[in-house]
């Protein structure tokens, strides 16, 4: 006797399989999510029309709501790709769930996180992080949420999606926010005059057709290179490998 008469969405095996397989990924790009979705429809022989991904996910989220988890959509900070991750909304259970890591490993992660949030560039060098280790007992730890770029650590899309709320609560003074979307900002560009910051993809969209970009706050010239807006169609056409794409982005502060 399931709670079938939910006023929220209804789960079918198509949704369940999607959810199960989604959980095997830490984070999923939009294109991969669409592929996963159509796979799930195929398995259960649904001659029914495949829902639009957003609606499909919205349906699942309405059921997940009571479990305090959500399939959250975000955008990668470096090149604006849409991503999806299953995130925990109940901050109270964060520490309880982390039974995978030892106390000192968690402590290191928190300290490294603090370094990253505090930093100007959104990156903390590995040297600085390693120096933290002296303050703890135990070995250095690697965590999927920390992404390495040329010897520096920052937070990857999934970590930001999952921990945005936590970060805002823990470091309300150090936290940086994007002037356009008001979301948490780890990496981005900043105005040299008034100091406001923007995500790279937000910059791309805001200045898209503007040949002479100015700061939206103080109207000074915007000194940085304007990145391109992420275009999924272009993605599919070119066979550019992931690694070379990532290096095209320039971070400037």
């Amino acid at each position: 006797m399931q709670a079938g008469a939910r006023r929220t969405g209804a789960m079918t095996d198509v949704h369940r399989r999607f959810l199960q397989l989604l959980m095997t990924h830490g984070v999923l790009e939009e294109r991969e999510a669409e592929r996963l979705q159509s796979h799930c429809y195929k398995v259960h022989n649904r001659s029914a029309q495949v829902d639009k991904l957003e609606d499909f996910i919205h349906n699942i989220n309405s059921v997940l709501e009571s479990l305090y988890i959500e399939i959250k959509k975000g955008v990668t900070e470096d090149d604006g790709r849409p991503i999806y991750a299953l995130v925990n909304l109940a901050t109270s259970s964060v520490s309880k769930m982390a039974t995978d890591f030892a106390e000192n490993e968690l402590d290191l992660f928190r300290k490294a996180l603090e370094l990253i949030v505090d930093s100007e560039t959104g990156f903390a060098s590995s040297t600085n992080i390693l120096n933290l280790v002296d303050q703890l007992k135990g070995k250095k730890m690697k965590k999927k949420e920390a992404e390495q770029k040329e010897g520096e650590f920052t937070l990857h899309g999934r970590a930001i999606l999952e921990m945005e709320q936590y970060i805002r609560e823990m470091y309300p003074d150090a936290v940086k926010v994007c002037n356009i979307c008001h979301g948490l900002l780890i990496q981005g560009q900043s105005c040299e005059t008034c100091g406001i910051r923007m995500h790279l993809p937000c910059v791309a969209r805001y200045f898209q057709t503007n040949p002479d970009p100015h700061c939206p706050h103080c109207n000074d010239c915007w000194p940085h290179e304007i990145p391109e807006v992420f275009d999924p169609k272009k993605e599919r056409e070119t066979a550019v490998s992931k690694s070379s794409r990532k290096s095209q982005r320039s971070r400037q502060h």
């Binding site: 006797m1 399931q2 709670a3 008469a5 939910r6 006023r7 929220t8 789960m11 095996d13 369940r16 399989r17 959810l19 199960q20 397989l21 989604l22 959980m23 095997t24 990924h25 830490g26 999923l28 991969e32 592929r35 996963l36 796979h39 195929k42 398995v43 059921v63 997940l64 709501e65 009571s66 479990l67 305090y68 988890i69 925990n88 109940a90 109270s92 259970s93 309880k96 769930m97 039974t99």
Partner: protein
Amino acid sequence: MSQRPRGRGRPSFQAEHRDEDRGADPEAPSTSRAAGGASQGARRSQAAPAPGPRTQKQLELKVAELVQFLLIKDQKKIPIKRLDIVKHVMGDYRDIFPDLLKLAAERLQYVFGYKLVELEPKSNTYILINTLEPVEEDAEVRGDQGTPTTGLLMIVLGLIFMKGNSVKETEVWDFLRRLGVYPTKRHLVFGDPKKLITEDFVRQRYLEYRRIPHTDPVDYELQWGPRTSLETSKMKVLKFVAKVHNQDPKDWPAQYCEALAEEEGRARPGPSAAAPSS
């Protein structure tokens, strides 16, 4: 904040100790949460000292924590002990543990398609069984590689079944040797096969590993563990073996009969069916 039960037309979840009708849907429409003022509903008793009346929201959150805990613990494929659940998740709510567990089980089934099962009756340990049939193409859209060790497990399970449900460890190695798997040699895919078979799979309850008394040199016997019986079936394993040999399961009449008998035994609903809610 009214103390009267809201007129929602069904028994308030928080009114009682969950000892009855599961028909009440505790995950009420989000209006109750969005309304900010928590829908307190009826309080348990007027003089409410410790541990205090629990709001619907608190109970909902507790069930959510429990569901997450079970999902994460099951990932490692180690049976989840009731003691751990009570220790890490329940806290003050341990008095209503059975009800919360039942709710969590229902959520796991409805939302994820996982069934919470007790490994053996009265063992107070639990595992999650996938009620969705795994499909070959799943492997292409998975985020992890699945576990390569499953292949080795299937081979050992097959061997055990084909040999009459019990096999000596020495026989296992004689067989695996032919596939290039040795107890003492590191394997490219499986790592340490000896540890995998005699420790990891045993800890995960896929296999049972028992010493055979009075053997010299010491020998052990391997059988199916309780998790295997829950997660798969003799027929499925027989079909796997048949596929490997490019033959038909019926080519092994004795095993085929045994597998069939097991299927029929399962198909017949027993007197104590799955927990009838309410």
